[in-house]
Symmetry: C2
Subunit: 293 residues, 2 copies
């Protein structure tokens, strides 16, 4: 089986906690749940946001968040990323002063909260991106990725209630990140890619989360031409994917999937009958532990 | 069957869109996906946030958001809630001037973004809430609610990729809200309860979303003593539920569930064998269309 560059570490005891509960018969049982802790992000001297995260890669999460929010560029020279466990904070220090602090101050004065204007910033970059027109996705890769990812030990299989996002190349999963926070998994991949200068060319995303506008925008901004999810999508997600010529594949489970946009990149080389069917051994801790996004 | 005060309206053509796609055989198919549109919220003259929503109850969503973020009290006298479809904005006007604008301005000046400090505000109120100690939850209600809610026509059954949250009393679902946005469904219920002076006494929440810290905090703030989800929970969600003496029941699907906190409110009056088992007719558009939270 292909080697991951990063894969989940369900054995890391900081990432899950054993809790006891009562089952439907009133019997005391023990089970695992994912941790969730706050992480406050600073860009140089400026407090940006407090995120809820499992806390495994605060450095990648911090950097990826800033990149995906267009607060810094992916190639911005980074002086240091300092994580402090005691104060649950992480500081990204850029080599040169960013103009983001001044921009943010102006925005918060005029519109109350940076959150309200973050979306406008996202769209600015979105419209300039040209995705790889040569990239293809073979249906055999979709099935192979589903099998590898769903049988790889993960916090999801161990504890449920968590999201996963995987950077892949052809049928090989490379960087498999999980998190309780909505967009943290994709932001951690963005941080990893920036730190290790990983090119988006020929890559694709496999995610557990719903394909909403924000997921589509982040994927396009990161230059990834193909986005596959086990979940469904929103109408705006489809519309944005079409506008950006992103290949958007949703409801991918077992042999089934639906391509909602960018269908021309798909090569039908597999017999759907050969697809990996998930058995209960690989099912989630809850059928809706999936709930994330 | 019990009557809902509000239930999903999958026939409302503004809430879903028909899209075409290619299935796993390369065949052109048509399916429904939920809409997703921005809604910018103002409190009097102050822009607060832009949310992504299906857009069915902008007034309840706006009011509930402000209440759940502790920006206004649930009993704050409201002069008007003005929704403008053209500009995709909603303005909540209070009868007296709120001190929130000044508070927000100070916060954004000191810490950059209101988002970063919203969590602190949430906790302030959380610690003062006393939940109904007399409330009980019968296991027969859990099964009855699951059956009614999962067989009621919904955007979820129609289009997937959406969250649901239901305000219930005993085995009767009262207010069933759905939304693409993470916490919009629960915020719409908060807005409904404030507008119609619905008491939290004897009520419970049934939700599709994961039981994270924020879901627990909002439920407690709203004074609801029991929270049930089909999904799993995080360690911090469990910890906060215990601190607030909230009954937290997760992974509730078919006959199974796990009570993670507040088990003393549970009355085991049902035979799990009698539980409603979902068949494929009632399954979601995607097994992970569930993905939301």
């Amino acid at each position: 089986m292909a080697e991951f560059w990063i894969k989940p570490n369900p054995a890391d005891t900081r990432l899950t906690r054993r809790v006891t509960g009562l089952d439907e018969h009133g019997n005391r049982i023990e089970t695992s749940v994912p941790t969730e802790r706050p992480l406050t992000l600073f860009l140089n001297g400026q407090e940006i946001v407090t995120m809820m995260t499992i806390g495994d890669y605060p450095d990648y999460l911090a950097l990826g968040y800033l990149i995906n929010q267009n607060m810094i560029d992916a190639d911005e020279p980074i002086a240091a990323i300092d994580y402090d466990e005691a104060t649950e904070s992480v500081v990204v220090r850029t080599q040169r002063k960013t103009d983001f602090e001044e921009k943010l101050r102006k925005k918060t004065l005029t519109s109350g909260c940076a959150q309200g204007t973050a979306f406008g910033d996202l769209m600015e970059k979105f419209e300039t991106v040209k995705l790889d027109a040569e990239a293809v996705i073979k249906t055999s890769w979709i099935y192979a990725l589903a099998k590898t990812i769903n049988t790889t030990p993960s916090l999801y299989l161990e504890a449920g209630a968590i999201h996963g996002c995987v950077l892949c190349e052809a049928d090989r999963p490379l960087v498999y990140m999980e998190d309780v926070g909505r967009h943290n998994a994709i932001d951690k991949i963005a941080g990893y890619m920036a730190r290790h200068r990983v090119s988006a060319a020929g890559k694709l995303f496999y995610t557990t989360g719903r394909l909403t506008s924000e997921m589509v925008i982040k994927t396009v901004q990161m230059g990834i031409p193909i986005l596959i999810s086990r979940s469904g999508c929103t109408a705006w997600g489809v519309e944005l994917a079409k506008a950006a010529k992103l290949t958007l594949i949703g409801r991918a489970k077992g042999k089934r999937f639906i391509a909602f946009a960018g269908e021309d990149r798909i090569r039908y080389d597999a017999d759907p009958k050969q697809a990996f069917e998930e058995d209960s051994r690989h099912s989630r801790k809850s059928s809706r532990a999936d709930d994330a996004a």
